[in-house]
Symmetry: C2
Subunit: 231 residues, 2 copies
Amino acid sequence: MSNKNVFLKKYFLMTRSEENYLKTIFHLGGGDSKSITTNAIAEQMETKPSSVTDMAKKLSDKGLVDYVRYQGVSLTTEGKKTALSIIRKHRLWEVFLVEKLDFSWDEVHEVAEQLEHIKSEKLVDKIDELLNFPKYDPHGDPIPTKDGKFQERDEKLLSEMSIKSIGICVGVKDSSVPFLKFLDKNNIALGNTIQVLDKEDFDNSLRIQMDGKEMRISHQIASNLYVKKND
Amino acid sequence: MSNKNVFLKKYFLMTRSEENYLKTIFHLGGGDSKSITTNAIAEQMETKPSSVTDMAKKLSDKGLVDYVRYQGVSLTTEGKKTALSIIRKHRLWEVFLVEKLDFSWDEVHEVAEQLEHIKSEKLVDKIDELLNFPKYDPHGDPIPTKDGKFQERDEKLLSEMSIKSIGICVGVKDSSVPFLKFLDKNNIALGNTIQVLDKEDFDNSLRIQMDGKEMRISHQIASNLYVKKND
DNA sequence: AATTAAATTTAGACAAAGCTAAAAATAGAT
DNA sequence: ATCTATTTTTAGCTTTGTCTAAATTTAATT
Ligand SMILES: [Mn+2]
Ligand SMILES: [Mn+2]
Ligand SMILES: [Mn+2]
Ligand SMILES: [Mn+2]
């Protein structure tokens, strides 16, 4: 096989399933050369550990993961690069759906799961350009650049903010449909200014002021909202 | 299996391969209850007749084609509806790529082949709306409506136009990359006004006037350009 | 009507991606 | 250090979609 075909193999002949495994391994922390267990991957992907083992071998053969029997997998440099390019596509498509097609933030993930597998570098780049090179997706997750770098941000969980401190709501940790719908219903949106007024010791709930209005928020909610502290 | 799941099966559980077969059968004329042969489908899809036979059985079981052994297949009403919805998506995505992302008309087909399989009714409808409900794709092919109707148009091949008659170039019959690039190079584009000045008996070439400029065009070219006659 | 060429189907195999059940390895608890 | 409980892998089977080679049917020609 020629050198060019090795290139083609890696970049164009990745199956949808292989791409999904790489993405999951990355999300479970396998990008930092941490070993991710078969079971953890299986649980996350709602599949069986035996299936994960098979795929681990396949990805290892392709040089995308380091796999040690009974120990787990971690991404190689190539694997991490591939995972990041899929995550980049996923998040760009989510922005596109919200910004250009008026999808709500709880509708985009499912469609992006499909769109992230479309193979066309030009398409991604043009979508990126059309959206004016966004840095974050609709859930506040950073969009990797073409060369796989993240925009870092000084954010912390609302539940970890000190009393009286003020910040801007910049992301959600849990981006499940029910949580997102709950936030909509309570007018909690990214970009809103939040001040912690008071903490209730009993149940760790917070009294906050958001865009002028005062409200009470459970610990459950507060520990799933990212806030950027004002300078 | 519940009634609802039967619905789901037909509309959401179509595989990419099944969709491609339906589309091909439609393009070969199987939408007009004409029987399409195994060989014709195999040739068009660059696959083997035996593979087509297998798929014919599967699609027949699903009620999407009528299949008679040794005779060929034709689309059922359901099959035609499904084929048209995929063709609709394909052509809408092509318009999107050209209109919104500055793709050229020879770059869009390959990407649309992938995008046409994305499953989200809302996505198609929103793209349609974003594009202002286009009637034709970048190659002049009509875009089926949501309920599977085509916009008819009184068009004929340039090669069949009578001398002196005037029309507007509205479509290409051959939409291969080389032909489209040739047209670009010679400034022949959809929307241009064309008058047939003269026909050469020897090789059936035409002398035409296009947007003011005079040029000579081979029969090969003229028989792959659709023209709408002025009223 | 019989023969032959071409088209089509069948049979059997393979790769990808999944599953279940059984075997093997690891890690935790005595 | 040994024994379990848990995790992980292996072996073997399934489905989808493809292929090749062999068998069968149809269609064309004498
Ligand atoms: Mn998502
Ligand atoms: Mn997201
Ligand atoms: Mn096309
Ligand atoms: Mn087209």
